[in-house]
């Protein structure tokens, strides 16, 4: 290759653009190196350990992992149907002019900083749920253990609700893109057969089925890694299993937020970075899988359009 201005420029651009790969690699490497003390001390016991005691120097992450996965699962359970409804309303039901405005409004939910969700959760949502919603839930469903126990306001269900609100923009925007790719001729064919609006919409959704799975996983990836809002509303209590959905719990990100600044000896720091490493691996697994599914699905729907 000749040393021309063009080649040099292209090379520089390629190197700088590749730095994104380097950053991710370095991130995994650094977190692994800094967790070594914890990995060597506890091994896999770190993942299944159920005690977290900085005073005695014992660290186990199982309750934190369970807390993270449970709140994220609740977020998905609440957020996915709402997101799909939003996506359908915007892409299938509304006139185009209105849909632009509403899709922008829903996207604004993603622009609001996590810490403002936390502030709002602490002072507006928690009192509302504690005084009006949870007593009602308890009196009607209290016979199920999940809805028994005392009500603090903050806790697992509150955390799940806040996370659900935060993941709605991503799930709904990806699903909306998928729905809008389904060709008009498909809709017309279904309508011509005498289908109602809902039956048409169901056919449209069936084209995007695997893509919706990917969108849901993107939302899950976001919920798993969310830190500030969840720290502010979940109650921050380290325990293996909470007694009900109203009980306080802890998540991986929340313990990092609460303890990293105060950690003074190296094993404690190392354990917290180890939590970060686990969180990164869980997040990468979910997000990479989700991206691949979404890309494949987008290609598939576009392929149908060409046929």
């Amino acid at each position: 290759m000749k040393l021309t201005g063009d080649n040099v420029f292209k090379f520089i651009c390629a190197v700088i653009a590749s730095s994104v790969i380097l950053v991710l690699g370095l991130m995994i490497y650094e977190l692994t190196i800094r967790s070594r003390l914890s990995i060597e001390t506890f091994g896999t016991g770190f993942i299944v350990g159920t005690e977290w005691d900085p005073v005695k120097g014992i660290f186990g992450a199982l309750p934190l992992i369970l807390g993270t996965l449970t709140t994220s699962a609740i977020a998905l359970l609440i957020g996915l149907p709402i997101s799909l409804g939003v996506a359908l309303a915007i892409s299938e039901y509304m006139p185009q002019k209105l849909s632009h405005i509403f899709s922008f409004l829903v996207e604004l939910l993603a622009a609001i900083p996590s810490v403002i969700y936390g502030l709002w959760g602490l002072y507006v949502l928690i009192p509302f749920l504690r005084d009006h919603v949870y007593p009602l839930l308890q009196s009607s469903l209290g016979f199920i253990p999940l809805f028994s126990g005392s009500i603090y306001g903050g806790g697992i269900l509150t955390g799940g609700i806040v996370l659900a609100i935060m993941i709605i923009p991503i799930i709904s925007s990806v699903s909306r893109d998928l729905f809008s790719l389904v060709p008009r001729s498909v809709r017309e064919a279904v309508v011509a057969l005498g289908a109602t609006k809902w039956e048409t919409v169901r056919i449209v959704m069936s084209y995007a089925r695997s893509g919706i799975l990917g969108a849901a996983m993107l939302g899950l990836g976001r919920a798993v890694g969310e830190a500030m809002a969840i720290t502010m509303v979940i109650g921050n209590q380290f325990k293996l299993l909470p007694s009900s959905l109203f009980d306080a719990w802890y998540t991986m990100s929340a313990i990092i937020v609460n303890e990293l600044l105060e950690a003074i000896y190296s094993l404690h720091v190392s354990a917290l970075i180890n939590i970060g490493l686990l969180l990164l691996l869980i997040n990468l697994f979910i997000v990479i899988l989700a991206r691949l599914i979404v890309w494949r699905s987008l290609r598939m729907v576009r392929g149908i359009m060409r046929e």
Binding site: G5, D6, F9, K10, I12, C13, A14, I16, A17, S18, S19, V20, L24, L26, E30, L31, I82, S83, G85, V86, L88, Y93, F102, L105, V106, L108, A111, I112, P113, S114, V115, I116, G118, L119, W120, L122, Y123, I165, I168, S172, K197, W198, E199, V201, G221, R222, V224, G225, A227, M232, S253, V257, L260, L261, L272, I273, L279, L280, N283, R291
Partner: protein
């Protein structure tokens, strides 16, 4: 087909239509509640002291967030200084030299990095900067820069792709090499769109508090140097919100209000400026 069956299907369709709009309503209730509450409770905090005085001590009645505004601006400025050139050059690569295996891989990793939780990026900065030089502005700016890069890269790529091919061809036909065409003509043509991308990235990091917390911690004084922490608006919200002191809680809502005005202002402004262009 029996008449009753058709009626059932129609009713079902109407019920589902209602459910779909109900979902949209459910999604918009939190948004309006947040905007309303932040405005209502934040306005109380806004006065001259709020913008001119630093963090009050416990029990002190007067005080503001001036030092946090200063600190936030410094951190954002530093983060932009690192990330904007990298993001723009990466965007140039993806748009002008795209469609190779490498660019597909970079595009993919860019999306992945965009999905990495900000707290993890904070810990990364903690591991490579804080553990060697201590809690500092530079560590926070580094973390925020990593959050910005994927956003700037993606918007630059999209901005450059909108520049018509005919312009590139015209410049190339005059004998300019490709790199000059890209830097002096294509990039300039996309200047406004790139600027909006940078603004959106700034709006995103202005509200980040998790990576700021683990790289700077709480600092209630003015800027003293790049290797020392500064105060930060978003982080103040977290620290003040859970404090038992009434005046700090008021400051938390005030900080939330100015952050919201800035962030929503940028988002709405970008939407209005680019309306009909994409």
């Amino acid at each position: 087909m029996r008449e009753s069956n058709y009626r059932f299907r129609r009713i079902k369709s109407l019920v589902m239509q209602f459910m779909v709009y109900l979902a949209l309503l459910l999604a918009l209730i939190p948004l309006s509640s947040i905007i309303f509450e932040v405005a209502r409770r934040g306005l109380v905090a806004i006065n001259l002291d709020f913008f001119t005085k630093p963090t009050p001590t416990v029990g002190e009645a007067v005080g503001g967030v001036a030092n946090a505004i200063q600190g936030t601006l410094i951190t954002i400025g530093l983060a932009s200084l690192i990330s904007v050139p990298i993001g723009i050059i990466s965007g140039i690569f993806l748009s002008e030299y795209g469609e190779s295996k490498l660019s597909t891989v970079i595009r993919f990793f860019n999306e992945v990095l965009n999905g990495v939780p900000s707290i993890i990026i904070g810990i990364f900065s903690y591991a490579i900067i804080v553990l060697s030089i201590g809690f500092s502005v530079i560590a926070a700016a580094f973390a925020l820069a990593i959050i910005m890069i994927p956003i700037v890269t993606r918007t630059t790529e999209e901005a450059l792709k909108i520049v018509p091919a005919t312009i590139r061809e015209a410049v190339l036909a005059l004998g300019a090499p490709k790199w000059k065409t890209t830097l002096y003509v294509v990039l300039r043509g996309a200047k406004k769109a790139i600027a909006t991308g940078v603004m959106l990235a700034v709006a995103r990091i202005a509200g980040e508090s998790a990576p700021v917390l683990v790289t700077m911690g709480f600092w209630k004084w003015w800027f003293v140097g790049l290797d020392k922490p500064v105060a930060n608006l978003a982080l103040n919200i977290f620290l003040f919100a859970s404090s038992p002191f009434e005046n700090w809680v008021v400051l938390a809502w005030g900080s939330a209000l100015i952050l919201m005005v800035m962030i929503l202002g940028i988002n709405i402004g970008v939407r209005i400026l680019t309306r009909g262009r994409y």
